[in-house]
Amino acid sequence: MTDSSATAKTIYLDYAATTPVDSAVVKVMVECLGEDGDFANPSSVHAPGVAARVRVENAREQVAGLLGARSGEIIFTSGATEADNLAIRGAGLFQVHKGRHIITSKSEHRAVLDPFKSLEKEGFEVTWLVPEDHGRVSAEQLQAALRPDTTLVSLMHVNNETGLVHDIAALGQLCRSHGVLFHVDAAQSAGKLPIDVRAMQIDMMSFSAHKIYGPKGIGALFVSREPRCNLYPVSYGGGQEQGLRPGTLATHQIAGMGLAFELAAGRMQADQQRLHELREVLWSGLQAIGGVTANGELEYSAPNILNVSFQGVEGESLLFGLDGIAVSSGSACASGSREPSYVLRSLGLDDQAAQSSLRFSLGRSTSRDDIDVVVSMLSAQVRRLRALAPDWVK
């Protein structure tokens, strides 16, 4: 159907965009699909329905297990985007009688920014923090923004473009002590950094399966029961998921997510150690080219992401020259447009520098060889493009 030979030869360094699905996860998914599998509707009361329901509840335990949560606190959604919407709009609107001031940062994912903008249009007042502490929002910054009518704070755990890590425990403690709900988008951190929703004092946390070798189109929202966090749903229907998320439960997707989370729990530490070392190799290789800057200091960022600006080369040409290497650029990819990344701009980069940035995100199949090939291709391209540029733009 498609020419997958192109895919096969590609060096894939875009694991933060999405990951391939683990083969054990594929197996579990397939077990829930066909006629001889647990394909029935998990809400049906007959035996095949109950078998499917067992799969779903088992997965709920697996997801909760990675977070130190209880399974009744996990609401399955179609992904982190829907989880973010449910958390932000659901909790924002539920608390509207308490106040209309809500807080987030300018470097959040659009799945957080856009629900905030939607509430802003509907009369909420939003404080848009500019991350000041090495690209992160500090507890002091947040403290200064809190007001008596603040009802909700949403800050991400790991930034999807730069890998920068927020000090969630400190931010969580601050919110809890002010009686303000705290939502965390953990799409990029689950299975990569340790998470403990109790210790971190988190009220709501969003997850996606496809960033950790699970399927796309499935995610979850953790909603704390102790203390109890109340939400409105954002869509309405069959009453599934405690009335918070209607629609037939997708057993294969949920079971796949569950296993992916369980597998991640087991291998997180070793994986991240290995990726950290590979990233070091990549970063020294790139530094040798000269005129490169890491966007986001490495000591503050998750070990699997490296975002680099290449001075003196135009972004699109840089990317175009990297045929056979799959990385993300500093332009918004979702739209295919050439808008420079607002996350990089919030770090103080100008449009051209943002556009001349590449995000390398490493994963389970990344090898030392891959890194070497990428470094040598990039050196060649960057040198060639720099040589081609007139002096006055160098």
Partner: protein, 131 residues
């Protein structure tokens, strides 16, 4: 939502550009013109080495997207052997048609035209071109 589409000719010119670089200082008969900036997304310089009204060879430097670099290369290839009057008739439209440049990049093609125009203007000022 789609990946930018690059015509085959763009790929060719981008990876093996014709006339990339500039002439050594002191080479006789060289005129040049520049246009654009980093902020405009394209900065380009054209040089032509002339023998009277005839362009012997063209060279360029460019900082910009693949279409722009390919466009400069395509122009450099065409200019070689051309008369200045003929060269002045080349339009941005021809470049975009040849390289299948998408609409949102026509601004860059205008900058290429400007740089070439500046180069020919330089030739005029230096009396290579007698109208």
């Amino acid at each position: 939502m789609n990946a930018p589409a690059y015509a085959q000719l763009v790929r060719q010119h981008f990876s093996r550009p014709v006339g990339a670089g500039c002439f050594e200082p002191g080479v006789p008969g060289v005129v040049q013109g520049c246009a654009g900036s980093r902020e405009q997304g394209l900065a380009v310089q054209f040089q032509c080495r002339l023998d009277g009204e005839k362009i012997l060879e063209a060279r360029f430097l460019a900082w910009g997207c693949p279409h722009s670099i390919a466009g400069a290369s395509w122009l450099a290839e065409r200019l070689a052997g051309m008369g200045l009057v003929e060269a002045a008739r080349i339009t941005g439209n021809e470049v975009s048609a040849a390289l299948d440049v998408p609409a949102d990049k026509l601004g860059s093609i205008l900058i290429l035209e400007d740089a070439l125009g500046a180069c020919l203007e330089n030739a005029r000022q230096r009396h290579y071109l007698n109208e």
